[in-house]
Point group: C2
Chain length 556, copies 2
Amino acid sequence: MKTDVQIAQEATLNPIAAVAEKLGITGEKLELYGNHKAKVSLSVLKENQAKPDGKLVLVTAINPTPAGEGKTTTNVGLSMALNKIGKKTITTLREPSLGPCFGVKGGAAGGGYAQVIPMEDINLHFTGDFHAITSAHSLLAALLDNHLHQGNALQIDLNRIVWRRVVDMNDRALRNITVGQGSKANGVERETGFDITVASEIMAILCLASSLTDLKDRLSRMIVAYDVAGEAVTAKDLEATGAMALLLKDAIKPNLVQTLENTPAFIHGGPFANIAHGCNSVLATKTALKLADYVVTEAGFGADLGAEKFFNIKCRYAELKPNAVVIVATVRALKMNGGIEKTKLSEENVTAVKIGSANLVQHLENLKKFKVPVVVAINKFPTDTEAEFEAIRQACSSEAVNVVLSDVFSQGGEGGVELANEVVKLCEMGPSQFEPLYSLELPLEEKIETIAREIYRADGVIFTPEAKNQLEEIVTLGFDHLPVCMAKTQYSFSDDAALLGAPKDFKIHVKEVRLSAGAGFVVAITGSIMTMPGLPKVPAANGMDITEDGEIIGLS
Amino acid sequence: MKTDVQIAQEATLNPIAAVAEKLGITGEKLELYGNHKAKVSLSVLKENQAKPDGKLVLVTAINPTPAGEGKTTTNVGLSMALNKIGKKTITTLREPSLGPCFGVKGGAAGGGYAQVIPMEDINLHFTGDFHAITSAHSLLAALLDNHLHQGNALQIDLNRIVWRRVVDMNDRALRNITVGQGSKANGVERETGFDITVASEIMAILCLASSLTDLKDRLSRMIVAYDVAGEAVTAKDLEATGAMALLLKDAIKPNLVQTLENTPAFIHGGPFANIAHGCNSVLATKTALKLADYVVTEAGFGADLGAEKFFNIKCRYAELKPNAVVIVATVRALKMNGGIEKTKLSEENVTAVKIGSANLVQHLENLKKFKVPVVVAINKFPTDTEAEFEAIRQACSSEAVNVVLSDVFSQGGEGGVELANEVVKLCEMGPSQFEPLYSLELPLEEKIETIAREIYRADGVIFTPEAKNQLEEIVTLGFDHLPVCMAKTQYSFSDDAALLGAPKDFKIHVKEVRLSAGAGFVVAITGSIMTMPGLPKVPAANGMDITEDGEIIGLS
């Protein structure tokens, strides 16, 4: 089979203006970025406010393993398949981060015959959204340090500055730094650091904002530091809101591209799935729902993090009513969850599949708690056997959930027709019965405990004294009504990445609690969460090139 | 009179595709960024290689003062006026830097009825070129620190790392920093700092590159550090060239916008005019020369720096043959050069104009040395008087140069017709006789001494021992054939910003010499050159905003 890049380069792209026109987006409402990328005006959503929403389908997955589950591939393939069976469908995805492209992984735009294109642009600067977020974040940091330099009228406590800097690059040397060194003219000396741009609270805000006004409200509430009296100092206090919003005026508009089969794709926003909620933008999802019968969307990591946050944070804030969930698994990843090494995944092993399916089953049980119907999509590999498929079906039978094979990687939309039909069946069962898992009225500890108990199946939650103090302060500041955002390893239901499958008899350890007052959630951090990745011994960048004729090498 | 923003917002813009079509740029050769910005494919230059070049006109100025000379305004207005008198003209300008917009100054897109539009986009992210340069620079920094972290196989001397980081923001706290702090996993601890993006050598390279291949050659030669044996370590040694070029694949393409009168404008690249050469890109200028009868271009700061570097660096590398020079002055700025305070510039003062004109006359004498004919353009202000104009004419009479009044600020192209006619007259005098000031065969010291003597009129050059050592090392490394790039205050012919007019009896002090091996020049630093600006007590950012309807406030 051809490589992803070969397939992408051989694709026949429609002019993006033609893709947009089919959705009714014309004239000033479309801003072209070359012939195959565009931004869609926020007026499209406003003007269609009265129209009923299409059906919303979430694609999520079992706990990821190095074997991969193909969540984005399935999302893209399912969207193409829905179009194939006559349902006008838009796929909505997150934008990939630039930095990691130069490290271990390549891009993130699906795979095989289920990709979004132009993949090289999507993986590089795309329409500049992440650069705009980096600029807005950098501006606030510069205004903060300038405020200190100019006399610190707000009496900011130098030991309690929480606003760091960001850059969209894997640069471990910037994790912990000291700024303001040298002469007094260089500002106030203090320790701080950089995170990668996707970890910026502004990224989360961009993805949760329902309008430019809401964006500004959220930006203004961001806490950058505390003053010597312990009061929060916000972006508003630094008079930074308007300028940041100005920098984000285009970034807030959803980006339109297409799949290999010309299905429209909104790719917009990409918040981290650990310290943030890991979903594409509310504005992209909502706009898509006004323009299509079906909207397929995704959430980062496995369903324990991605789906949980999609439901409890994104759907709650945006008042979305999801109609169906697709949970993606591969035979290979289930074998790894069943204890098999990566080198032996090509050998048939029905027992390992059975054991590993415990992970899938727990996710199925969990998803029921949100009252949204579910289908399992097995993303096919050539080495899979019928006996292994049968083992998955048997494991899922107790949950009364159908298991469907998906072969969109090698067949495109055609390989996802069975899945599409199942999704339509679920969506046509009646109006969405969706409910979040917990009420916002619950105390923050109890929200965290509810997720730990109901989703992770932990015996309890242990808060460090530091975390307890932080929770108390958040209550004092008046933010106890916010949903929680769990920052946990993606590899396990527990907070120990080594515990695969469906672990039992463990506790969740909350080490630290952070307030994202602008985004509107309280982050509970379990384990050590890396917000600035590093580069490997041999970075992918070393193998990249572009020829005088524009041929791109090494970006996959 | 209306404000710049009002005028800009009332303008009737043509679709940029229509502007491009008039230049013969159609189809795949044009990449739209919205309806009023576009990138032009490098193939346009390649396909028109055989066509003769249009006439090249440089707009430069006297030494700048806080009173302003209106160089960009004159450039834009002259271009519109040339079109008005039937000469197909393209204006070429530098892209403004994002960071300074949030500090003291507003944008940089001309003024009054001589602006390029859309000014708000040009002043903000534009087409993302500066972000791409920041990314490429950041990638190289990350690869360098990663190399140290992974064992430093190249034996880089930690005390001789010259590659810093950049961000397009005025952020003084980042001037001097320590990175790699905390645990060993965070890289190697060392002191470094950030410059503003326009100071990146990659910016200078982008502006001097004649093709993607030339860009890669220059990128590969950039020196990032020296090893323990004193040998240069380059971007090529870090295997960073291809990935950086990939990040710059779109940034290298000239941007097309238009003036208020729909004259095509290439706005592309914006290197610092102190540690770099301060001109728009070679590719934009060369492409424009193939598409128009007249191309008007600019160079940063006054003619002692901007024009000198335009001739000795840009024209030499690009084999450009400029046909005429417009030197811009205002009565107000000449009065300041004549010793008058900023508060008294509105009062007629013929004596001060006479004294200040010594600055203008020295520039005129200097420009003759490059064998390109010159015209003086007086950028009119309502408070100017005829007696003051006459004083300027008399001062210039010894140089046999015409002095023309320009009123493009309040009249647009119509106000520049006299200037346009004079420019055409100069350009039609015959083929360009342009010559650089010095031969590349001269030793580096002598190149610097030639500029100091012939342009600044210094009595001599004093090199610090450090600078002498650096020059010796550059010779040892084999780079003595490069042109020099003077980094000097823009406010005086001397290296003392307080010496206005035409100072005599001074020496130039070269404190430090830096090698920009990729860009292809040796930077001689006199005085203290700031490569990372700070924000003022009340940053312009504080007054910026955007409404839900998209109205922009505070960006001017």
